[in-house]
C-alpha cells in the first residue's frame, strides 16, 4: 500500500517554548508521498510473547489506582479553601499571577491527576500515532516479577518504504528488561544510487513498575536518504530505574524524542545520547523528563560531533513538579564543531515548581581545544586529519559499546561507508 504525503507539525515540541525567531520550539516531519507501509522488523527470541496489546494501558491503570491511594484527591473542603485562597490572591495581586500558557497547561496536567494524561511521547502524539499505524501489530516485551528478559528488535531500512516498529515494555515489580533496538541499512539496498528514500521508526512505551530495571539501547546506522523517527515515552514507578542509550550515526534526518514521567519515589531515568552529524544531516533531539516522585533522579547526557554541513537541534527539559521533594535533575551537553558549515542549536531548560530540589544543566559548545590540537599536530597530524579522528572516534566508540553483534555490524558497516578501511582497522584494533 502506497501512501500520500504526510506532514507532522509541531513535532518534538518543547514544553516551555521560547522566541519563535530562533526556530527551536518544535519541528516538522515530512513523510514523502509514494512510500509503501511495509515494516521490515525482526524480533529476537526468546522474549515473552504473552503480553497483550493493551498490557501497557492495564499496567498504567493499575499504577493509577496505587497512586491515588497514596495521593488522595483533595476533599471538597480543601478544594473550597483553595478556591478561597486563590480568590483572595487574585484580589490582592491584580487578578493573580499572570501565568504563561505553558504554565497553565502544566498545572492542568497535574490537576487532572491522571497518569495517562501525564504520559507523553517524546516526538509527540501525532508522530507516535503515525508510527503505530505504520508498524501494525505491537511488539510487547513483558517481564514477570523478579524475572529478567532480554530482547532485540531490528528495524531494516528498505528503500521506498516506511519500516516501523511499535514496542511496549512492561517490567513488573523487581524485574529486569534489556532491550536492544537496531535500526540499520538494508544490506541488499546499501550503496544504491541515486540515494534511496525511506522512513524508519520506532515508538516505544516503557512501564517500569516498583523496583524494576529497564535498559534500552537504540543504535541507528542508516544510509543517507533515510529519515528516522525515534519516539520514546517512559513511566517509572517507585525505585524503578530506566537507562536509555541512543547512538545516532547515519541517515539524512533523525527525529529523536524521549519523554519520561518520574512518578515514583526514588525513581531514576538516565539518558546517554551520542550522535554524529556529517554531510547534510539533520538531527532533531527532544527530551522532556518530568519529576513527580520525591528523591527521583534524572541525568541527561548528550555528546556529539558535527561535521560537514550538519545541523542539530537539542531541546532538553527537566521539569521539577511541586511535591518532588529531594529530586535532582541534571543535564549536560558537549558538542564538538568540526567544520565551518555546521549549525548547532541547544536549549537546555529547567522548569521548577518545588524548592527542595537541585536542578543543574550545562552545555559546552566549541571546537577542538588548542592543547588537544597541538598535541595531535605535534605528532604529525594535520588539523583536518585530527578533526577526522574525532569523527571516527564516535563511530569506533559506538562499535565498541554496541550491545550485541547486530548493532556492532550495523555500526561497522556505516563506518566503512564513511571511511573506507574502517572495518579492517576496527577489527585489528579489537
Amino acid at each position: 500500500m502506497q501512501t500520500s504525503a504526510v506532514t507532522i507539525g509541531r513535532a518534538s515540541a518543547m514544553p516551555a517554548p521560547t522566541w519563535h525567531f530562533l526556530n527551536m520550539n518544535d519541528t516538522v516531519i515530512e513523510v514523502p508521498a509514494g512510500l509503501a507501509i511495509s515494516p521490515s522488523v525482526k524480533v529476537s527470541e526468546p522474549y515473552s510473547a504473552k503480553g497483550a496489546a493493551d498490557e501497557f494501558e492495564n499496567a498504567l491503570a493499575d499504577a493509577q489506582e496505587a497512586w491515588e491511594q497514596d495521593h488522595p484527591a483533595p476533599t471538597a473542603e480543601e478544594l473550597a479553601t483553595r478556591e478561597e485562597f486563590l480568590a483572595a490572591e487574585a484580589d490582592a495581586t491584580y487578578g493573580g499571577t499572570a501565568q504563561s500558557a505553558y504554565q497553565v497547561v502544566a498545572d492542568a496536567i497535574e490537576e487532572s491527576r491522571s497518569l495517562a494524561v501525564a504520559f507523553e511521547h517524546g516526538v509527540g502524539d501525532e508522530a507516535a500515532a503515525y508510527l503505530r499505524y505504520a508498524a501494525g501489530e505491537r511488539v510487547v516485551v513483558q517481564a514477570d516479577p523478579g524475572k529478567q528478559v532480554d530482547a532485540q528488535v531490528v528495524v531494516a531500512a528498505v528503500p521506498g518504504t516506511v519500516s516501523a516498529a511499535a514496542i511496549d515494555v512492561i517490567a513488573d515489580a523487581g524485574s529486569s528488561v534489556n532491550l536492544s533496538i537496531v535500526v540499520e541499512a538494508d544490506a541488499d539496498a546499501s550503496g544504491q544510487a541515486p540515494q534511496p528514500e525511506g522512513i524508519t521508526g520506532t515508538t516505544v512505551r516503557v512501564f517500569a513498575d516498583d523496583g524494576a530495571q529497564v535498559s534500552i539501547t537504540r543504535t541507528q546506522a542508516l544510509d543517507e536518504g533515510f529519515t528516522d523517527i525515534d519516539d520514546t515515552g517512559l513511566f517509572a514507578a517507585d525505585d524503578a530505574r530506566i537507562d536509555v542509550r541512543q547512538t545516532i550515526l547515519g541517515g539524512s534526518a533523525t527525529f529523536t524524542g524521549l519523554a519520561g514521567d518520574l512518578r515514583g519515589d526514588s525513581s531514576r531515568i538516565d539518558v546517554d545520547t551520542r550522535y554524529l552529524g556529517h554531510s547534510d544531516r539533520k538531527l532533531d533531539l527532544n527530551y522532556s523528563l518530568r519529576h513527580h516522585g520525591p528523591k527521583s533522579r534524572c541525568n541527561l547526557q548528550a555528546n556529539g560531533v558535527l561535521a560537514g554541513r550538519a545541523s542539530k537541534t537539542l531541546r532538553g527539559t527537566i521539569d521539577l513538579v511541586r511535591g518532588c521533594k529531594g529530586a535532582e535533575g541534571a543535564e549536560n551537553e558537549t558538542v564538538l564543531l568540526v567544520d565551518e558549515g555546521v549549525h548547532n542549536k541547544t536549549v537546555p531548560v529547567i522548569l521548577c515548581n518545588e524548592d527542595d530540589v537541585a536542578g543543574n544543566h550545562g552545555a559546552t559548545i566549541g571546537h577542538i581545544r588548542d592543547e588537544q590540537l597541538f598535541y595531535l599536530t605535534s605528532r604529525g597530524l594535520s588539523q583536518e586529519a585530527a578533526e577526522r579522528m574525532f569523527v571516527a572516534a564516535i563511530v569506533e566508540q559506538a562499535a565498541i559499546d554496541a550491545p550485541d553483534e547486530a548493532a556492532k555490524d550495523a555500526v561497522v558497516r556505516l563506518g566503512e561507508r564513511l571511511a573506507p578501511g574502517f572495518a579492517e582497522l576496527f577489527e585489528e584494533g579489537v
Binding site: T18, E89, Y94, L337, T346, V347, V349, I365
Partner: protein, 470 residues
Amino acid sequence: MAEKKRTQVDDIDRSMYDFRYDDADAEKLDAGLTPDIVREISERKGEPEWMLEHRLKSLEVYNSIDMSDWGPSIDGLDMDNIVTYVKPPTEQKSDWESVPDNIKDTFDRLGIPQAERSYLAGVGAQYDSELVYHSMQESAAKMGIVYSGIEEALHGEYAELIRSKFMTLIPPTDHKFAALHGAVWSGGSFVYVPRGVRLDYPLQSYFRLNAKGAGQFEHTLIIVEDDADLHFIEGCSAPKYNVANLHAGAVELFVGKRAHLRYSTIENWSKNMYNLNTKRCRCEEEGEIEWISGSFGSHVGYLYPMSILAGRKARASFTGITFAGRGQNLDTGCKVVLAAPGTSASVETKGISKDGGIQTFRSSVVATPAANGSRCTVSCQSLMLDDRSRSDTIPAMDIRCKNVDIGHEATIGRIGDDKVFYLMSRGVSEEEAKAMIVNGFAEPISKELPLEYAVEMNNLIKLEMEGAIG
C-alpha cells in the same frame, strides 16, 4: 519533631514609591489606539513629517501582528483602556524650582535631585508622557556631551543623526509592543558623547508614571562615539492602581569603536504594571557594553536587553537580578549576537522567587558564521524561597560558526543545609548564616550597582530571620 519554620523574605517595601498625585490637571488623549490618536500625538509635538509616517506605519504593524504566545499572559491588559498620552501640566524645565510642586515633590521623595547634587553629571526626569526636567552639569556640556529630551533634539542639529538611527536597532516589526512603541512613543532622552570624551560621572534618567490606566512609551537613544566612555543610569517607578498600567519603552544604544557604555537599570514599577520594555545595543570594533539590570517591580515583565557585537573584538557583559514576589510573573534575561570575529560576552544572572511569584530566565546566544574565535559564557542561578513559587530557566544557543567557545551553566535550588551547617560549625549563628548566604547570592549583582541602588536592593531582599529556609 517541631516543624521547621521557613525564613520569611520580606516583600519589597514600596511605600516610598506608592504615592500619587491627582492627575486632573494633566492633558490626556482618549484611551485606546487609533490613527487619529497617533496623528494627534504627533501634531502636539510638532514633529517632522517622517516621524508621523513612521508612527502610522508602526500602528499598521501593531494591528497586523499577534502577541507572543510563549511568555506571561497579558490578558489583563486591555489596550482599549490604556491612555497612551498623558501630558503633565508643565513644559520641560532645566531649573528645578520651576517644576510644579507636586511633580517636584514626587522626584524629591524619590531622591532624584539629591542624587544629582551628590554624584551625577546630569539628570532627566520624565513624568507620564513628557520630560519635565532635564539638566546637565556645565563641565559635561563643555566636553561637548549632549543630554537632552529626544523630542527637542529632533528639532536641533542632531535631527538627521537621530533620524538615521531611530528605531533601526528595534524596528517596529520586531514584536507587537515594539510596533506599539513606534506608534505612540513620547518623551525619553537623547545622549551624544563625542569621540574620545570620557565622562567620569553618570547621567541618569528617571521615569515616573503617575496617571491611572496610562501607558509610558519613552524612547532613549544614546550614541557613544569612538573611544568615548559613558555610564548611564535608568530608574523607574509608579504608584499602584487597581487597573493595569503599561510601560513599553525602547532603548537604543550605539557604542563606537573602542568606546565603553555602562547601562544600569533598577526597575521598580508597581505591581499593576505590565512592563514590556525593549533594549538593544550595537557595539563596533572593540567597543564594550555593560548591562546592569535589577528587576523588582511589575505585575508582568518582559525584559531582555540585547547586545549585537558587530565589530571585531567587541565585548558585552550582562549582570542581572530578578526578584519575583507575590502576584508577579517576571520573564527576564538577555540576548547576545556574536556577529564578528573575536567577540566575547559574559552573562551572569540571579533569580529569586517567593510567595507564589514566577521568575523566568530566558536568553539567546547566537553566533553567526562571522564569529570566528568568539566566546560566550552564560551562568544563571535561581533561588527558590518556598514551594509555592516557580523558577524556570530557558536559555537557547544557536551556533553557526566552528571556531567558537560557548559555555552555559545553570542551577536551581534552595539554600543548602550543608552550607548553613558549614557556617554554623565555624561559630556563625543559623540566622546569620542564612543571611550571609542570601546576601552572598545577590552580591555579584549588588556590587555592580551605584551605591544608593545597592543599598536599596539590599533592603529589597532584607530577611527576617526565623527558622530555616525550606
